[in-house]
Amino acid sequence: MSALSLADLQQAFRAHLLGEEQAALVAVAVGDRIPASARLRVYRHHVFTSLTAALGVTFSTVRGAVGDDFFAGMARAFIAQSPPAGPVLSEYGAGFAAFIERWPPAETLPYLADVARLDWALNLAYAAPDMPGLTAERLAAVPSEQLGMLKLGPRPGVALIRSAYPIDRIWALNHSGDVDTVALDAGGVCLLVFPRTDDAAFASLDPGAAALVAALEAGDTLGAAVEQAMAAEPDLDVGAALGRLLALGALTDPGA
C-alpha cells in the first residue's frame, strides 16, 4: 500500500466515479465487512442518479418524449463525457442538445435535439432577471422620425428556436394535456421563448415575425429588421407583429 496524495486520490476518485474501477483508489479505501468497491459504488450511484434527475428536471420534455429508461441511458452517457463544470445544477446541460444529435441510439429520433433546445431555452428564460420589457407606451413616445434607427434587442432570456418538427406540440403532449397525438410530418415551427414573472413560456411566430426577431437579435436597426420581415412575409402586418412582441415583453427598452 502506498498512500496517494490528496490531489491524486481526487483524480482517481473522479475516474472511478465516471468510468472504470481505479485499482489505486480501491487499494487505499478500507474494505472490511463491506468490500471497498461496494462502498465506492454508493458514491458512483449517487453521482449518476442525482445528475440524471437534475437533467430530467431541465429537459423534462425530452424525458417525457423518450421515457425514463431511455433518458437515463442517454443522461448517463452525457454525464460520463461532460460532467458539470460547476455546482449550480440548473446551469448544467448546455451541451445536451448537441450531444443528443450525435448519440447513435437517438438517431431514429431526429426531432429530439430540437426538443432539448426548447427545454434549454425555457430553462434559461426561467432564470432570466425579472426586468420589464419595452412597452408599447414607451415605444409610442419615440418621435416617428427616430423609429427606424432604434436598436431593440430581445430582452435577456428571450430566444428564437426553429425546428423542422412540431416541437411545440411535442411539448404540449408532455405538459399541457391539450394535445394527445403529434404528427411528426406536420411541419416545422419557429418558437419565441420568453420569461414571465413566475415562469417561462413560448409562442409560435409566423415567418415575418420570426425574421423581425432574428434581425433585432443580430443587432439590426428597427428599420432594417422590418425590411427583412417584409421580405420573409410580404403581407405581414408589421404593427400587429411588433405589438405582439411588446405584449410578450420580449424586447429591451433601449432607454431603461
Partner: protein, 286 residues
C-alpha cells in the same frame, strides 16, 4: 464569546430545510418555524424561486447552507463560485452560513456528491486554507458540517472529531453537528456515535441537523444511506437527546430532500425536535 457566537447559540425553535415545492405554501400560510435553511446552489441561478426566498426573508430567520464549495478540494475552491455564494450571503444576510467537510470538484469537474477524504495533515492544511478563503470572502465565520461516510481511507491518521476540532482551532470556524450523519457514518465505517459526539468541541457547535436515512444492501451487508427521505429514525432521536444533554440546546434543523412530503410533516418533525430538546434541557437544569 464574540457576538456571532451569542447570536448563534440563542434559543431558537427548530427550523426546516426550505424546498422548492413548499415555497408558495410557506408564503401563503406563514407557519411558525424557527428558521429556514436554503441550499445556496439552488438559488444562484436567479429566477422566480430566488425572488420568493427574498420575500420569505422578510419574515423568517435564514440559513444559507452551501453544498458545492468543495472545501476539501486539493485544487482549491472555485473563485467564481465563491464570489456567487458571497454575493447571495451578502444579499440575504442570513443568521447562519454553513458548508461541509467534503469535496466535489477536481480538474474543473463538479461530481455532484459530498465525497470523502482521508484525515491527514495534508488534508487538514487543504481544508483549513479553503475555509480561510471562504471566511475571508464572507467576512464572517462559517459552520462546517460533518459528512455522512460510506468509506474510510487506510492512510487516515486522525479521527473525524479530532480533524474537525483541528479545523476550529486553525481557522476559527464553527461546527454544524449533523446527528444523522454521525449515526450513518458510525454504522458504515465503524465507530461509536456517542463517543464521536463526546469528542467534538461542544462550544464550537452552532447548529444541529436532523434527517432520515435509508438502509440498503451492499454485497449482502447493510449500508445506511443518508438520503434525507424519511422521518428521523429512533436511534437518531436518541443520539440527539444525548447531544443536547452534553452540549445544551442548539438551533436545530429538519432536512428532507428525497420524496419531499407535505410541509406539515416537516413541521411535525420540527415540533418533535423542540419537545425532545426541551425535555432534555429541563432535566439538565433540574
Amino acid at each position: 464569546m464574540d457576538v456571532i457566537d451569542c447570536i448563534a447559540q440563542m434559543p431558537l425553535p427548530t427550523g426546516i430545510g426550505l424546498r422548492a415545492r413548499h415555497l408558495d405554501e410557506m408564503a401563503a400560510c406563514a407557519p411558525r418555524v424557527g428558521f429556514l435553511e436554503i441550499h445556496a446552489e439552488n438559488y444562484l441561478g436567479g429566477g422566480p424561486a430566488l425572488r420568493k426566498v427574498e420575500r420569505l426573508r422578510a419574515d423568517h430567520a435564514m440559513s444559507v447552507h452551501g453544498v458545492g464549495l468543495s472545501l476539501g478540494s486539493a485544487d482549491g475552491i472555485d473563485t467564481r463560485h465563491l464570489d456567487r455564494v458571497a454575493a447571495l450571503v451578502g444579499h440575504l444576510q442570513p443568521r447562519f452560513v454553513s458548508e461541509h467537510l467534503a469535496w466535489s470538484v477536481v480538474g474543473g469537474a463538479y461530481l455532484n456528491d459530498l465525497l470523502p477524504m482521508p484525515y491527514t495533515e495534508e488534508s487538514l492544511a487543504v481544508v483549513a486554507r479553503n475555509i480561510d478563503r471562504l471566511q475571508t470572502a464572507l467576512k464572517r465565520p462559517v459552520m462546517i458540517e460533518n459528512p455522512s461516510s460510506y468509506v474510510a481511507f487506510v492512510h487516515t491518521t486522525m479521527a473525524e472529531p479530532e480533524f474537525l476540532a483541528a479545523l476550529v482551532a486553525r481557522t476559527g470556524c464553527r461546527l454544524l453537528c449533523d446527528v444523522n450523519n454521525i449515526f450513518v457514518s458510525g454504522s458504515n465505517v465503524g465507530f461509536d456515535p456517542v463517543a464521536y459526539l463526546d469528542a467534538l468541541p461542544a462550544a464550537a457547535i452552532g447548529e444541529i441537523h436532523l434527517a432520515g436515512h435509508a438502509r440498503n444492501d451492499a454485497d449482502g451487508e447493510t449500508i445506511l444511506i443518508d438520503d434525507h427521505g424519511s422521518r428521523v429514525a429512533d436511534p437518531v432521536w436518541s443520539l440527539y437527546r444525548h447531544a443536547v444533554a452534553r452540549i445544551g440546546m442548539r438551533p436545530t434543523l429538519i432536512e428532507w430532500d428525497t420524496d419531499v412530503p407535505a410541509l406539515e410533516v416537516l413541521l411535525e418533525e420540527a415540533a418533535r425536535a423542540d419537545r425532545e430538546a426541551g425535555a432534555v434541557a429541563a432535566g439538565r437544569a433540574a
